[in-house]
């Protein structure tokens, strides 16, 4: 039994992969969200800031323009517990920069070229995310 969400997941995934393919074949760059944003934030990527800023602008503008297409209001359903949100944001920012990549860079771009580092990173963040949800949801009940 195939659910609609899975098909949309596959379609969206193909779009994400095509975006990464374009960025590689035209610009010669790896499409990693934490690297593109992080390089702007800590100035390490200011050497090619127009490309980074344009990427971020597209990333924000295009989904925003698509929102009216949805009959039901779209929501991130993020928790209202702001302490959790702050802790999660800090962990994501620190972790992705120390690991030099996140789901897009290590996951999509790394696994697709059989990079050992990309595969390794993906195994560790999936395990940590799974353990995190078990810990914070089922044992502590905070999310």
């Amino acid at each position: 039994m195939i659910e609609t969400d899975w098909i949309w997941g596959l379609v969206g995934g193909l779009m994400i992969g095509s975006a990464a393919a374009m960025f590689l074949l035209f610009n010669g760059r790896i499409m990693g969200a934490s690297g593109i944003v992080g390089g702007l934030v800590d100035r390490s990527g200011w050497g090619n800031w127009p490309e980074r800023l344009a990427f971020v602008a597209g990333l924000i503008a295009v989904p925003a323009l698509m929102l009216p297409l949805y009959a039901v209001p779209v929501s991130t359903n993020i928790t209202e517990n702001l302490a959790i949100v702050v802790a999660a944001g800090l962990l994501v920012g620190i972790g992705s920069r120390i690991a030099n990549g996140c789901t897009s860079g290590h996951g999509v771009c790394g696994i697709s070229r059989f990079s050992l580092r990309g595969i390794g990173a993906t195994v560790f963040y999936l395990l940590a995310g799974g353990i995190g949800v078990i810990l914070f949801r089922h044992l502590l009940g905070v999310i």
Binding site: G13, V41, G130
Partner: protein, 146 residues
């Protein structure tokens, strides 16, 4: 200019894909990670779908001298699973599970993510600024322990 236009289109397609796939919905991400709850396999379809065009792109790139807009392709990936990769990925994964957002969807959903989304982004940027010093401290500690 061409590079910026292509980057805008790639970013836009990435954002559209994140929205369409449901990856900007934190409950879908946490549903995937929650193997002991009501498990949601959508993320596997997203990652699988994304890897296909990118694997083709890496193959095309291997047969080209340089990218269409000039410059050079990224070098071969390192093969070393070092401390930074492991520690960083574990911290990142914990945060990802805690809120259900990673950097791409966090930026993509800025226009509809409300206060929670903005607070997450601010904390993520703060974390990115703290990361170099923390990485340095980790190095120092590792040397001291040796």
């Amino acid at each position: 200019m061409a590079r910026a236009i292509l980057a805008f289109i790639a970013g836009g397609l990435f954002g559209a894909g994140l929205l369409v796939s449901g990856m900007t919905d934190t409950t879908k991400v946490q549903g995937w990670l929650d193997v002991f709850g009501d498990w949601d396999p959508t993320l596997a379809f997203v990652l699988g779908g994304a890897i296909i065009p990118m694997a083709i792109a890496w193959n095309v790139a291997a047969r080209r001298a340089r990218p269409a807009l000039g410059g050079s392709f990224p070098g071969k990936p390192g093969s070393e699973i070092d401390r930074n990769l492991v520690v960083g990925s574990v911290l990142f994964g914990m945060g990802w599970g805690l809120a259900g957002l990673c950097p791409g969807p966090a930026v993509a959903s800025i226009s509809w993510g409300g206060i929670g989304g903005l607070v997450f982004l601010a904390a993520m940027i703060a974390g990115m600024l703290l990361a170099p010093a923390l990485r340095q401290r980790m190095e120092t500690m590792a040397v001291a322990l040796r």
